[in-house]
């Protein structure tokens, strides 16, 4: 096992994802502790997207036509080859779709220990200690890894690193000539009826609202406050709200002045999209729901009681 710290660069169309800069922030710190280098792994088909500006000591640049878009099979095999050659102390990937697809595969192929859903990583001597958010964020697990490690990191966990003039090294891709996965198309989300990222006030509903018919209680409150209704993933998956109103990892990142979370548990994937809101008020009957760890104010009263009561009082106050 070496002492380098690897980071998988996530990029689309020449733009490096914010999460990569966050990982590089942590990578620099860990590399200082291990005495190794911070190495960014850039898999691409020729553009070398943003390699020059990455805050790393070295960029390993792997070029191959199969790496034009994210192809899980190609990424796992290419990265596994890099890891086998260089034996880094730790590999950091974002806990994104890309990271979810790559981290487990890399662990299976290399035997390196994987800690998923990390939000903190430290070194205690030779032992890497990572905190993993489990059970929908209700508990943290402190996990020790003695050997080479892989950590998939929840977005927003580390401060981004910027500025760098890394040494860019070309590496020949191996093992990805015969793939059974082919890229067909990239589809951008449809234009939205409403842009929840531009709203000051969001009344956001989760599964705890109980059903499509109850959305109107949130709508009435949003109308009284001059805001709009957004929601968690299960609510948009169930069709209770349009997909364009989804807050979170696979939805929109929002930063309103007021976010009222109604029957939302506060899973890590949801918090990723809203924990920066200026004022968060959570209504959730489970006093241990993780949403209360990011909310400023909270209540365990039933959401179906609080919403109409609040609407009524606001309407009366405005009148």
């Amino acid at each position: 096992m070496g002492s380098d710290v690897f980071t998988l660069v996530e990029h689309v169309g020449g733009t490096v994802d914010d999460s990569t800069h966050e990982l590089l922030g942590k990578a620099r710190e860990l590399a200082t502790a291990t005495g190794g280098r911070s190495v960014a792994c850039l898999l691409h088909s020729g553009a070398r997207a943003g390699a020059d500006g990455l805050a790393a000591d070295v960029v390993l640049s792997v070029e191959h036509p199969a790496l034009e878009h994210f192809l899980p099979e190609a990424y796992v095999k290419a990265l596994a080859a890099l890891v086998a050659d260089h034996e880094p102390r730790v590999v950091l990937v974002a806990n994104s779709t890309v990271g979810m697809d790559v981290a487990g595969g890399l662990s299976a192929r290399t035997g390196n220990g994987l800690v998923a859903y990390c939000n903190a990583i430290t070194l205690e001597g030779d032992t890497l200690v990572a905190i993993s958010q489990v059970f929908g964020g209700k508990l943290n697990a402190e996990v020790a890894v003695e050997g080479p490690a892989i950590c998939s990191v929840v977005s927003g966990s580390f401060a981004p690193a910027t500025g760098g003039s890394p040494d860019i090294q070309d590496v020949t891709a191996s093992g990805i000539d015969n793939l059974t996965t082919t890229f067909l198309a990239r589809i951008e989300p449809e234009a939205s009826d409403v842009d929840i990222t531009a709203e000051d006030i969001l009344v956001s509903v989760g599964r705890g609202i109980g059903g499509a018919d109850n959305i109107e209680f949130a709508q009435e409150l949003a109308d009284a406050l001059g805001g709009v209704v957004s929601g968690s993933r299960p609510v948009t998956d169930a069709g209770w709200l349009s997909k364009t109103r989804q807050v979170g990892k696979s939805g929109q990142k929002v930063k309103p002045k007021l976010y009222i979370a109604c029957g939302i548990s506060g899973a890590p994937e949801h918090l990723e999209g809203m924990s920066d809101a200026e004022l968060i008020i959570a209504i959730n009957s489970d006093a241990n729901a993780p949403i209360f760890d990011v909310a400023h104010f909270g209540t365990t009263e039933d959401v179906l009681d609080v919403l109409p009561a609040l609407t009524e009082q606001i309407e009366a106050a405005v009148a």
Partner: protein, 258 residues
């Protein structure tokens, strides 16, 4: 197309989670377990795919918790076979172990596609499906939101942050982690589940003895010690509403209220 859907029961997250004696896991004995919601999505997508392309759906559960109900419910919804892999899993098992057990069993089966739930809330060491694919040396796609027949294989829609979607074609055997099915999971009545229990017994066989180290050690579990827990508002709904109105007013967030 022969489709395998591994299904699991997972902790009901609304329940209070108590830690075991050494603080490295949750006390499982008194916990309530529910079907993993993403497995329900995977099963639905598998049934839709079978309806479109023909073939069969086999559900398989590693008997960590009482999976019988989940498996019978899958049979009632239209799965053709249900298999239960038994063993001593009292202390919980890792994703690496689950994947190794499933890989060993799949080695004895004919199949084209494995459709797992994209994750469960317990997955400390990564997702079972992705690990499984790499043990089987097949392709995999995680966070899938649609699978349909395509040129002898399947076309998978993979979702990224912000709702961007990639369409990928898979030509060989593969493992797909389903985030959401194309349609909401179908409903099945208790009476049909009961009928399935009588008509179609579970095939029960011992899980393979696997050696699948994770390379990790859990030192302890603990509730996140938040630096800023919410200030809880006291009183009934009206009192709470009054306090919220006051807070919103103080901050000048709603012009008409200031």
């Amino acid at each position: 197309m022969q489709i395998i859907v591994p299904m699991q029961q997972t902790v009901d997250l609304v329940e209070e989670l108590e830690l075991n004696d050494d603080g490295t896991g949750v006390e499982r004995e008194y916990l309530k377990f529910v079907a993993n919601e993403w497995d329900e999505q995977a099963l639905e997508e598998a049934l839709l795919l079978k309806e479109a392309a023909g073939g069969s759906v086999t559900v398989v559960g590693i008997d960590e918790t009482d999976v019988d109900g989940t498996l019978f419910s899958a049979l009632a919804k239209g799965a053709d076979r249900a298999v239960k892999l038994t063993g001593d899993f009292e202390n919980g098992i890792s994703s690496h172990q689950r994947a190794a057990i499933l890989a060993a069993w799949l080695g004895t089966q004919e199949f084209d596609l494995v459709m797992v739930g994209v994750q469960s809330p317990e997955d400390l060491d990564g997702q079972t499906g992705v690990i499984l694919a790499n043990l089987l040396d097949t392709a995999h796609v995680s966070v899938a939101i649609g699978v349909e027949p395509h040129e002898g294989g399947v076309k998978v829609r993979q979702e990224f942050g912000g709702g961007t979607v990639h369409e990928l074609a898979l030509s060989g055997r593969a493992v797909v982690g389903v985030q959401a099915a194309t349609a909401a999971p179908r409903y099945v009545s208790i009476s049909r589940v009961r009928a399935a229990m009588q008509d179609s017994p579970l095939e029960t066989l011992p899980a393979a003895d696997v050696d699948a180290p994770t390379g990790t050690t859990v030192r302890r579990l603990y509730a996140p010690e938040s630096s800023s827990h919410a200030e809880m508002l006291e009183g009934d709904a009206d009192a709470v509403a009054a306090r919220i109105l006051e807070i919103v007013r103080e901050r000048g967030i709603v012009k008409e209220l200031s």
